[in-house]
Assembly symmetry: D2
Homo-oligomer: 337 residues x 4
Amino acid sequence: MKKLKVAIAGLGRIGKIHLKNLCRNFPELEVVAVMDVAAESKNVAAEYNVPILVSDFDDLLAVLDLDVVVICSPTDTHADYTIKAAKAGKDIFCEKPLDLSLDRVQEVLDVVKESGVKLMLGFNRRFDPEFKKIRQLVLSDAIGDPQIIKITSRDPGPPPVSYIKVSGGMFLDMTIHDFDMARYISGKMVKEVFAKGAVMVDPEIGNAGDIDTAIITLTFDDGSMAVIDNCRKAVYGYDQRLEVFGNKGMAQADNNFPTNHKLYTESGMSGDLPLHFFLERYDASYVQEMKEFIDALVSGSEMPVDGNDGLLSIAIGLAAKKSVVEGRLVKLDEILA
Amino acid sequence: MKKLKVAIAGLGRIGKIHLKNLCRNFPELEVVAVMDVAAESKNVAAEYNVPILVSDFDDLLAVLDLDVVVICSPTDTHADYTIKAAKAGKDIFCEKPLDLSLDRVQEVLDVVKESGVKLMLGFNRRFDPEFKKIRQLVLSDAIGDPQIIKITSRDPGPPPVSYIKVSGGMFLDMTIHDFDMARYISGKMVKEVFAKGAVMVDPEIGNAGDIDTAIITLTFDDGSMAVIDNCRKAVYGYDQRLEVFGNKGMAQADNNFPTNHKLYTESGMSGDLPLHFFLERYDASYVQEMKEFIDALVSGSEMPVDGNDGLLSIAIGLAAKKSVVEGRLVKLDEILA
Amino acid sequence: MKKLKVAIAGLGRIGKIHLKNLCRNFPELEVVAVMDVAAESKNVAAEYNVPILVSDFDDLLAVLDLDVVVICSPTDTHADYTIKAAKAGKDIFCEKPLDLSLDRVQEVLDVVKESGVKLMLGFNRRFDPEFKKIRQLVLSDAIGDPQIIKITSRDPGPPPVSYIKVSGGMFLDMTIHDFDMARYISGKMVKEVFAKGAVMVDPEIGNAGDIDTAIITLTFDDGSMAVIDNCRKAVYGYDQRLEVFGNKGMAQADNNFPTNHKLYTESGMSGDLPLHFFLERYDASYVQEMKEFIDALVSGSEMPVDGNDGLLSIAIGLAAKKSVVEGRLVKLDEILA
Amino acid sequence: MKKLKVAIAGLGRIGKIHLKNLCRNFPELEVVAVMDVAAESKNVAAEYNVPILVSDFDDLLAVLDLDVVVICSPTDTHADYTIKAAKAGKDIFCEKPLDLSLDRVQEVLDVVKESGVKLMLGFNRRFDPEFKKIRQLVLSDAIGDPQIIKITSRDPGPPPVSYIKVSGGMFLDMTIHDFDMARYISGKMVKEVFAKGAVMVDPEIGNAGDIDTAIITLTFDDGSMAVIDNCRKAVYGYDQRLEVFGNKGMAQADNNFPTNHKLYTESGMSGDLPLHFFLERYDASYVQEMKEFIDALVSGSEMPVDGNDGLLSIAIGLAAKKSVVEGRLVKLDEILA
């Protein structure tokens, strides 16, 4: 069988993960080219025997017989690159978000649709074994109809304020994963958003016009609900938990830990803190995400996360922002209209 | 030392618990009289060697040398009985709520203040070992300043609709405990309330003008937050959990279980469901509640739960109701003004 | 119905527990007399309204219309008192062990049998909710046939060496509970014993001719096995766990804890240590033990722990001692013959 | 830097794991050749771009500039291949055991010593994150001096009886890992062994002269102890746990699970069974094992598991066999002498 030819745009933290995972786990494909401007990219490409390293996205697209582009470059390039790749007829995996503007996202999706290529968005948490298991329990009706979904999502520490300033704000940068999770787990449409935000971690974040702590209540179209609590800084590490309560039961996914050891001494019982951050916690999810992307490409089945998933998460994020600013419940229709 | 003479008004479910606990655990007091109209009360009084059984509250107050009245009668008698007992100079323990009307509650508190008697409200969950431990961790600064408090509070099944109709609604009947818990754990003043409610358990509850499922976000005066999720029916039993997230750490209290056994078989791992309902789960809290009430009476120190705690919980409940009805954030000042 | 008249011999730690439990939980009986020589016994008797306090066991037996004697006096009086009570026609609850000599135990059992009274031995752990649950799982065949039983039993600290000298040694004083547990859980006959002991806690214990740490392997008559590990000192508290492995599954009972809270801070996750010692851990078991004793008396059914249970536990203990001394596997027949 | 050239002998289950791990995780080495007679080996070699595939060990050793041989062939070839590789001056990683005969093992070790090559034995469990953590806690004195080590080690199902017949018996085939673990965790010398075995899983295993269930007590030279319980069949899956009790505390490592989810429904709480078998549970350990082997080769430091570790585990296994057969405590000196 002919191997899929894949190119990766951007070799930052997440780009390197995809490079490693694609090279190590998928004999059915070949990473034929990477694009990055950093000096060290040469070494990275060499380590994985990637023959072509370019610094321009057009050059990447021009690589002979290229099938797939994986876009891991900075957020503000996502829309542009996706449009270019779509027009060039390449199937696309793009890290979230497609763009911070809803109009621009819609524009990208229109081009993708027109060009007929496949597009998957990088909501990797859907592929985390813990959350996947919870989703399966929902699908198998073990929990019944979900009535309350609870998502805890706290980072070990905030990014630099310089990053926060261009991030689109906490809801579009961080909570966007949780918005997608609420949709993924429930399989329902979000109708209303109420968010309460605060600056409790660092006043500089507030000065930059953002918040660092929030509780967001989502209402689905059937009246059932989800609640998300976020904080940019949990001193004990990355806190990623999920709970679904339904009319037949309740399921929980706890954090993941380096080990499950327990130590009992005169001064008390102690154990590990959660895995440090997303690279550790979601390690397996990145491999699984690519597996399901490749499988869907090869089999021609539906993308496990599509462009509309990206659009809706951004819309919910914009509604949450509006809710905090205006101190009121915001209907998603106000945003999507 | 002279023994305290105690009378109990009402020998329903909770009245019997207090009777048993007072008789078995406090040699420093004597239950000298009980009031109830049910036929079986005679047997109950006999079982605990209570010499006087009356059917009228005035007769109860008239018992010679009575020091303390414990009010466990139906909610709509609480205000009346408390006023009478206060005017008669008796110290009072009253089950929550004092009344469903804020004005009436204020009137009761005014009489209590004027008469100089002591009044404690029956927010028993403050005396639960799990939650008490969390409060101690907050007080000892182990968690730092509380930023997010999460309370899960779900009943194993709804009360009869006939009860719901006169209960004041879920927020005043059930969530009121959680409102008090949020205040107790944080030690902070609630400023704003946003609540989202739904009827997911039984349409009859909706027909009765109430809800059975809700998520409530409280904002404290310093901007920190609490979120409560409620349901009138959790098929797996009574779900009572608490989590506090602060700038120095996070603490959790899980449910209590009949045993902690784990069984592993070919078909999976299994274990116990939570203790069935409040009588089982909060068994120890009722004893501890009385202990602290008696201790405070004897030592003359402040009541661990006072009239203002009762008033504020009702106010928050009324704000939550208003929030659901009007679909907006409600400031507590709107209720208290 | 006529109330059972109960007398208690010995108001030490365990005697006081039985006194409290009998007075508070059993309206169907009356503690009419207690025997003890300590000065403070007067206050104890008064606290529970026990009308008769004597200092001599014969005087206790002479109390009018006495039905039941509960023997909680020092071990070296158990045999003598049990024989006297049996001959006086009183039903008997006796704390373990009946005696440290197997011949003497047999003599007691013969007298009891002849006199036709009921005798229950105080192996309270059989009535602990955790272990009872495991036993029920075995009985319901959820685990299948038990193949390996594992008992962890460690004390928070050793008793005084003066006590150890007259205790009969760790196996007869401490492990005896575990020997009974192995028999109770399996429902099988012990055939062989191998024990390995060490002095690791305090050399003075070794000087007194005893050990403080041990691993004991029991073989049942069908070849299945149990293993017990003991230590006189676990710095983290009282460690009481049980595991049963069978051909259909495995069940575990963990320790009990004051609360189940978990605290996560920058320096790690922490939680409670186990309940301190037997008074706390086995609190509920003492009530349940008396309940089943009284129920069996009233209904005339078999005693839940009988004299033979006491005898066999002592025999296993003696076999374990022999095994340590002689460094070899000891058959129970060698002891029982 | 020059890349280490590695050859692998044997591409069975474990050989394939090492091949995959070596190719994917270690850019500092190159797998230049593999040896196997199975037809499918050609595909395996191709998948990992291994240029040379041979069917004879001598041919493998003859590969140009070869540095390291990884021996994963059947047990009865280990001694022979190790001797040949040592004489050829290759550093060696060999799966356990070196041989079932102590004399033969000693002969191998003598040759290795003489030839000056490095030899590491494949006791992969030492590199499991859970057990490694426990070892670190022992080394850091968090537990104090280990007094009781408890190892639970049960397989999900027995191997075919044909395999059992040539395996050397359960102690040398399965428990050998636990013997090494007891030595690794304690850092102490085993002095005595007492083992009790039974046939409870399959009578055919007994007919083959082996046992399938056992409890083994090890005594270390300082009198402290370890206890291992084994069964060839745990219906709930692979059960691999460890506990260390010392004078300063106690540490436990539990099983690993596919997810940590908990599901609560009307019929109870349920969760995952342990990871199925060694390939899943010890996945990470195989990578870490190779990492420490390569690191030690490159840095010239001591092998993390050396030939003596292999020899002692076999000696303990032989002592355990003798103990079961003769029904008595066996001193290791009887075996080693």
